[in-house]
Structure formats: structure tokens, C-alpha cells
């Protein structure tokens, strides 16, 4: 259930942590590029900006971003009324939060293994 009382950042974060898998690859370098790829494209979609999706890798980030952006617009309707700059600020905070939870603050010792 979506808790509308939570802060905006927490709502967006909780949605990713409950519903998405792209942020949980098994190594630090992999999580860095996943978070960067998908959250950047999500921000671009929410702001109506063009998104690169020519390479297979970019297209794969884009599909996750489309579903995330659509879910945000459907479940957190306040985002539809936000100004572009405010969306960018919020998405930057979201990226920092997801990076903390899945990379810098993660207690998963396997992340640091240099090989797959």
C-alpha cells in the first residue's frame, strides 16, 4: 500500500526497493552503472527530455526507466504538478539515497569482490 504520509523522497525510494530489481546487481561497479543509467533516464522522462536508447545497454536502462516513471506518475500524482527543476532536484536526492542504500551504505560484503 502506498503511504501518502511519507516524505516524497521516501515514497519514491520505497517504491524502488519494494518493486524493482535493477538496483541489486552483485558488484559495486555494476550497481553504479545501473543506478546511473536508470535513474538518469527516469529523470529525463519525468522532465520530458530526450532519452538516449540506441545501444542495447541504453535501451535496457530505458525500459526500466519507462516503467518507473509511469509508476511514479500513477502512484504519486504530486509529481505531475512539479516544476522541472524541482523534479531534477528530487531525482538527484533519490539517486543519492539509492546509491547509499545499495552501494556506499550497503553491508553486502560480496559487492567488493573484483570478479563476477
Amino acid at each position: 500500500m502506498i503511504d501518502q504520509g511519507k516524505t516524497q523522497l521516501n515514497q519514491l525510494t520505497d517504491y524502488i526497493m519494494k518493486n524493482c530489481l535493477w538496483q541489486f546487481h552483485s558488484r559495486v561497479w555494476d550497481r553504479e552503472r545501473q543506478n546511473e543509467g536508470i535513474l538518469t533516464k527516469t529523470m529525463q522522462l519525468l522532465c520530458g527530455e530526450p532519452v538516449e536508447k540506441e545501444t542495447p545497454a541504453d535501451k535496457c536502462y530505458w525500459v526500466d526507466a519507462v516503467c518507473l516513471a509511469d509508476a511514479y506518475k500513477e502512484n504519486f500524482t504530486w509529481i505531475n504538478d512539479m516544476e522541472k527543476e524541482d523534479i531534477k532536484t528530487l531525482m538527484k536526492e533519490l539517486k543519492e539515497r539509492i546509491d547509499f542504500l545499495t552501494i556506499t551504505g550497503s553491508l553486502n560484503a560480496e559487492l567488493k569482490d573484483p570478479r563476477y
Binding site: H25, V66, S106, N108, E110, Y116
Partner: protein, 520 residues
Amino acid sequence: MPHHLFKCSECIPEREKHAVIKGEGEDLSDALPLGYLNTIPGTISERGCAYCGAKHVIGTPMKDVIHMSHGPIGCTYDTWQTKRYISDNDNFQIKNTFATDVKEKHIVFGAEKVLRDNIKEAFKAFPNIKRMTIYQTCGTALIGDDIEAVAKDVMEEMPDVDIFVCNSPGFAGPSQSGGHHKINIGWVNNKVGTYEPEITSDYVINYVGEYNIQGDQEVMQDYFKRMGIQILSTFTGNGSYDNLRGMHLAHLNVLECARSAEYICNELRQRYGIPRLDIDGFGFKALADSLRKIGLFFGIEDRAQAIIDEEVARWKPELDWYKERLKGKKVCLWPGGSKLWHWAHAIHEEMGVEVVSVYTKFGHQGDMEKGIARCESGALAIDDPNELESLEAMRTLKPDVIFTGKRPGEFAKKVGVPYLNAHAYHNGPYKGFEGWVRFARDIYNAIYSPVHQLALVDITKDEIADTNFLTQNLISDKDLSEEVKNSTTLREYTGNYDSVSQFRTKEYPEFERTKKAANS
């Protein structure tokens, strides 16, 4: 998220770091159980060995292959017909199992000759099967039998056969997971790129980490075929050896069980540039999102949406019938590796159950991250559980049902808690929209079975007439509103006993090719 030490584990204090309780408002940076460490001797762990992970989980679902264990008969026997990875070639790989039956004298004098003889005998007995996988076991690993050399000799003598050697003896890792890793890397190193299957579509995927348990792969394959997508290979449920040699030709790796098969996806990404898309085949929302993402990748999202709309319209009223009756029921989600995160959020949201505990037998910390992120606060998360801790957890948490394997399920039944087989299902498949309803039905049948009341009746003393026998509906509906009880839209499951065989004779639409690959 405090660590939790079971009373029965006070004599093994290191177990405290393997269990946490998810606190309100806490997140993954607060605590995470340790994972994928060596099993503590004497704990009565639920784990299996690395041979099991390689052979039984990943290797043997390949359907057109002779799977030969090079070792004592017990290794083979105990991994025969104990997992329901069916196939559409009359279950060749379930009906038949092969072993070199290594005895004490072979351990002393070497077993390479008996291996060579058995390989030839097996190919002669099944002349239509030209592919073989050979699995090392503890004994033959310790004596240093060079299985690869023997296989190479046989392939030179018999040029129409191909053999894959899997060096994953039981001791090669802390659990089954060690075996998963070995066979993933072994396959991508030795076999991927050695064959080029025919390309029949503009949209080509490898379906990875899917083992066709009770027909899961065939359910998903039906959706993909309806979208015009070619599953070049499935790693490995209902999968073909030669198609799996052609994994390098796919446009996209669709990954279900990241625990057992993310390794090969990661290597295919590094070596061939094929992207990895993690999906969930369980749950209406997660599955709809997954189909949509695959559709978007290929620019055919309208085809995905048509399937989603049709399936949801057909099956949602039945899922909701069970949800009304399962709300608030307590569940322990105790699978092997990945279902703790595939199912935790979906069963809570879509069936209304409360997940009071999750565990993973052989998962890594990454699986715990996903599982704890997806479960609600208050849940007890356990890594590498054992029998005594499980019993203590059941006495404390008092779940209404447990989803776990059939071995821990038996001791759950002995303390009066019903269980459902999370590994191989009761009446699956559980993937897909219809499958999710089948799962809800099994949960309903487990919780509301009249046997729970009848089993308490002592027929030597109690009058049968006084038992006040209640049917399932009487038990499940007693607190429901009249509106729900009399609903004309909600209904119980109306599918068939066998929901899978239909796919094997089904006709699919032809889609025009816009581009032809070099080898199609």
C-alpha cells in the same frame, strides 16, 4: 534491525549474525544477515552440496541430454526425480538418470576406464541422444580422475556427440550456490559460441534462470510466442543443449532466478554486449511490468499490453476471491534462494497475507537485501537456517502456513503447521497469471483444509456426530461480509487440472520478419 539469536542456538553464538528482525523505519544499511559462509558443522543445516547445485538445479533440466554422474550411486539416486523440471519431450531427463556407479575399488585404482565404458554404453542405449553432461562428485574429484580427457577421447572416437564436463564436486562450495557458479562459468567458457541455432524472429531472447518447474517455462514461453519473440535458449528448464550453445546470438537476456544464473548473464554482457533484464514471473503486477519491459525493449509493447489485458480480465476475479479469504493470514516464506524476494511483496500485496519470516537456505547477502527490502517491518530474516531454529521460529511466530521445501515441510506438518512446496509447488505451475491463482488456491486449501479440525478428533472417544464438521467454505467465509460472500464477480479457480499441456499443441500467430539475421 536487531540481530536475533535463537534460544536453541545459544551454544553456537556465531548464528546471531545470520538472523535479523526488520524494524519499523529501518533500512538495509542498519543490518543485514551474513550469507554464503561455510556451514557450521552440526547445525542440521537445510543446505545441499555444490554437486546438487550444478547437476540437479541447473544441469539436469536440459531435456535432450544424457546426464551422467561420475561417482557413487547415491549422488545420482538422491538427485533423481526429486525436482519437477518437466519437459515437452516426455520428460526424458526425469525418467532416466545415469551414473558410473563408482565403487571402493575404483576409488583405489582410478575410475577413468569405468567412465569411458559408461559413456559409450549410455550413448549406445539411447542412440537418438547425442549430447551428454558429466558431473564430477566428491570421490572422483579427490582421486583426480581427468574427466575432460576421457570426454575428449570419446568425442574424437564419436564425432557426432558433444560432451560437457562439469567439475563441481560436492565440497566445491559452501552450498548448492557454489555449484550454480561453477556450471554457469563452465558453460559460458566451454560451450557458448560453439553452435549457431536458427534465428526465426526479429526479437530474440535467452530466458535465463528458469527451470520449468511444473511447466513455468512453458507458461512464459506462451506469452513470448504470442508476442512473436523467439526464445533462442532457456537456461535451462525445458532447454536444449545445442540452443544453449548459441546463447551469444540473443538480443536480450531475460533473467528470472538471479541467484543461480546471474553469473552467465554477467559474462554474456561482458563478452558479447547482451544486456541483462531482471524480471519477476510471479504476481500480476510484477509479471505485467516484466512483459511490458520486454515488449518495450523490442518496440512491441502493444503486443505485451494486449496479453496483459486479456490475462488480467480472465484471472483477476479469481485471485481476488482468494485474497478476500487470505487477508491477514501469517506466512513464513522459507525457500532456497530467490523466492524470498520474488514472492515477499507480491503475496502481501496481491493475496493480503502477512509475511512474518523470510529465509534463504543457500542465498547470498544480495538475496537478503532484496528479500528484506520487499518484506514488511517485523519480519524475521534468517540465513542458512536449520531444523531447530525453524521449529523455534514456528512456535514463536505461529504462522498459518509455511512455503518451504518438502523436507522442512514434513517437520512443519508434525507440529501442526501446513506447508506448501516452494521449490517444486503442490499444484503448479505458479508462474503466469493463471499460475498465481493456482498458488492462491493451494494456500487457501492448505489453511482451510477441514483436516486441521478433524485430525484433533479422537475416534476412540469422541462421538462422530458431535464433531460439528465444517467444510472449507464454512471455515473461510465465517467472518466475510455478505457482499463478498455473495459476489457475482469474484469466483473460485476455474482452470483445468493440467494447465500446461495445451501449450504443446497450440498454434501461434506468424509475425512478418523485417530483418533477416545472417544464419536464418
